[in-house]
């Protein structure tokens, strides 16, 4: 995981771009289909070439835990879906930093690697909301 604390990236996926859709993931995985169905929507929106951003916040940050083994509950891996997002053109994955902090989660220690997340504070999240046409919370 690469963490950029509120830095502005230079890519097309830049932190300052506008989004057609911001999907907010605020629930823990596996106790419901919420995380899966939110990510399904993200993949669909990416496929249809919409600019999509994802924000993991509150219990939603638990979706990013490394070493998930959902086959213990006969469920499919979220990690694969999260890894697939960039291939489907989902341009930004953001994580609210305070939600990690409150849960004693350390990006280097607990969060899946190999995926680029922007670590955002409250102010940056307000900006992200401003730059998104539509917000759907899951």
């Amino acid at each position: 995981m690469t963490i950029e604390l509120d830095e502005i990236s230079n890519e097309d996926t830049a932190i300052e771009s506008k989004f057609d859709l911001l999907i907010v993931l605020q629930q823990a995985p596996y106790s419901s289909a919420s995380a899966n169905e939110a990510l399904d929507l993200a993949l669909a929106a990416g496929t249809f070439e919409q600019k999509v951003a994802l924000l993991f916040i509150e219990d939603g940050v638990y979706q990013l835990m490394s070493e998930q083994a959902p086959d213990a509950l006969q469920q499919k891996s979220l990690e694969k879906m999260i890894n697939a997002l960039s291939f489907y053109g989902v341009s930004m994955l953001a994580v609210e930093s305070h939600s990690l902090f409150e849960r004693d989660l350390h990006p280097e220690k607990h969060i899946i690697q190999g995926v680029h997340f922007e670590l955002l504070n409250t102010k940056s999240i307000q900006d992200l909301y401003d730059r998104s046409k539509t917000i759907i919370r899951f």
Binding site: L73, R103, D104
Partner: protein, 95 residues
């Protein structure tokens, strides 16, 4: 009389935990399942509820990728959940 308490909500549901805390007694047993297994990350449950034996449902812990080394909480299978039901006089499910 001993009671087996099960809890299935994440630590974010502070109201539910408060209700459980005001009811649980010395000698009771607490089993964390579903999203309640996230209580294992901070590993400070045993300071909040002393003299209560705390278990976490193994498959829920593994599915969610919760680091578990050095935890004071014991892992339990579904069979052990049933045995805890046997071993106690009554049951309260907190959800």
């Amino acid at each position: 009389m001993t009671t087996l308490h099960t809890l299935n909500r994440s630590p974010a549901d502070t109201q539910l935990f408060k209700q459980l805390l005001s009811t649980i007694r010395v000698g009771d047993t607490l089993l964390l399942l579903e999203d309640a297994v996230y209580y294992c990350i901070k590993n400070n449950l045993n300071r909040t509820i002393q003299d209560i034996e705390v278990f976490a449902l193994k498959d829920d812990v593994h599915a969610r990728g919760i680091p578990f080394e050095g935890s004071d909480v014991k892992l339990a299978s579904y069979e052990e959940y049933v045995r805890l039901t046997e071993r106690t006089d009554k049951l309260i499910n907190w959800y």
